[in-house]
């Protein structure tokens, strides 16, 4: 559907010849973004959550059709536990960088993957992020299994976000049995556990499939 305005791509800023272009922040990308096909009508999102260093960025990069992007969200001082500051000038916030990627699944639907830190101090972020999401894929590094506890706590506290566990393997990981992991992570019997290699696209996609299948079965109701 060739819409009228789409013939000319976004043009450079109108000539403000008095101003120096050098004002642009150094390194600001001049190239055009990778736009979605005009046919896409809906976006869905999946959160990729887990401790630092567990492979979130790697997985997003493996699956994304665009160069993964970073964006920042700020959290209020309350969420970082600073309570002794009053005026706006004195407030501090925590800025969280989230990376995300995109894959167009059909002419109609695009999927976004948002990498979200799971620690308790970032929970405020989740309120908006989780809204309308398909679910969360929880990356777990079995060498630091405790690193996933706060993520799982948050998911249980929310209670409304379907999730699946993807165990990301590192060279020195010990291979736990699914049952041992289920017990260590205190998971419900129906929470999927899959193994993955976040560096592999097909392995990462398989983990996402496990999550979506789970979300679908929850949505369809108990059978």
């Amino acid at each position: 559907m060739g819409s009228a305005g789409s013939a000319d791509p976004p043009s450079p800023p109108p000539a403000l010849s008095a101003e120096e272009p050098a004002e642009e922040p150094a390194g600001a990308p001049a190239k055009l973004p990778a736009y979605l096909p005009d046919t896409v009508q809906q976006a869905v999102k999946i959160l990729v959550v887990g401790d630092f260093g567990v492979g979130k960025t790697t997985m997003i990069g493996s699956v994304s059709e665009i160069e993964p992007l970073r964006t920042e969200e700020t959290m209020t001082q309350a969420s970082v536990g600073v309570d002794d500051l009053a005026g706006l000038d004195g407030k501090r916030t925590t800025t969280v960088a989230m990376d995300f990627g995109r894959v167009t699944l059909s002419p109609y639907t695009a999927l976004y993957l948002f990498g979200t830190p799971g620690q308790r101090r970032f929970w405020d972020l989740w309120a908006g992020l989780g809204e309308g999401a398909v679910g969360a894929l929880v990356l777990v590094d079995t060498r630091r299994i405790e690193g996933s506890f706060e993520v799982l706590d948050q998911l249980e506290l929310r209670g409304d976000l379907p999730f699946a566990i993807a165990v990301n393997h590192f060279p020195d990981s010990y291979r736990h049995s699914p049952q041992a992991l289920r017990e260590a992570l205190d998971l419900e019997p129906d929470t999927p556990i899959v193994h993955c290699d976040a560096r592999s696209r097909s392995s990462s996609v398989d983990a996402l499939i496990a999550l979506v299948e789970h979300a679908l079965s929850l949505q369809k109701g108990p059978s």
């Binding site: 305005g5 789409s6 000319d8 976004p10 043009s11 973004p33 979605l36 005009d38 009508q41 809906q42 976006a43 869905v44 999102k45 401790d51 630092f52 260093g53 960025t57 964006t71 969200e73 700020t74 969420s79 536990g81 600073v82 000038d89 407030k91 501090r92 916030t93 925590t94 800025t95 960088a97 995300f100 894959v103 699944l105 059909s106 639907t109 999927l111 976004y112 948002f114 830190p117 620690q119 101090r121 929970w123 908006g128 809204e131 309308g132 398909v134 630091r144 405790e146 690193g147 706060e150 706590d153 249980e156 506290l157 992570l185 996609v205 499939i209 979506v212 979300a215 679908l216 369809k220």
Partner: protein, 155 residues
């Protein structure tokens, strides 16, 4: 500084909590984590006054999310002279279909600021927001099935 001061104490949802204590020092202060400094996943900073958004912290409509798809409504419709440079940049960025998150990332705007600007541009008829999954809702069975089929085609 220390991540410990940030630990929110509201609600201990599960038995995991007790186990977690032992690992707490390893996981909470991100600065101690080997990858935290390198990846720079977060940093603390003074609040920048929200001049751009005229002091508002939230969009006027809460239907704009980071996965909301935006596209220019009417390429010819001019912005009022009072419009900020950031609003102009956002409108230009959305000359074709793009999510709010992508537009914000390319423009290096914080998501919350980009959301408020986008919301205003939708209200003023400059941008169109394509449907997103309803607030507090989950994607319906049809949508989930379509996502599943799409992922299976990739694998």
């Amino acid at each position: 500084m220390s991540g410990d001061q940030g630990a929110h104490q509201d609600g201990d949802p599960s038995a995991r909590q007790s186990v977690q204590q032992g690992a707490h020092q390893g996981s909470a202060p991100a600065a101690d984590h080997p990858t935290a400094g390198r990846t720079g996943d977060y940093h603390d900073s003074a609040v920048r006054p929200y001049v751009l958004t005229r002091g508002r912290a939230r969009p006027t409509r809460n239907t704009i999310g980071l996965d909301t798809l935006l596209v220019v409504a009417d390429a010819g419709k001019p912005l009022p002279p009072s419009a900020s440079r950031q609003a102009r940049d956002l409108l230009r960025m959305c000359g074709r279909l793009l999510s709010l998150a992508e537009a914000a990332a390319h423009l290096e705007l914080p998501l919350s600021v980009a959301g408020i600007l986008a919301s205003d541009l939708v209200d003023s008829g400059h941008l169109i927001a394509r449907s997103r999954i309803p607030e507090a809702g989950r994607p319906d069975v049809t949508t989930l099935q379509e996502v599943l089929n799409g992922l299976r085609r990739l694998s």
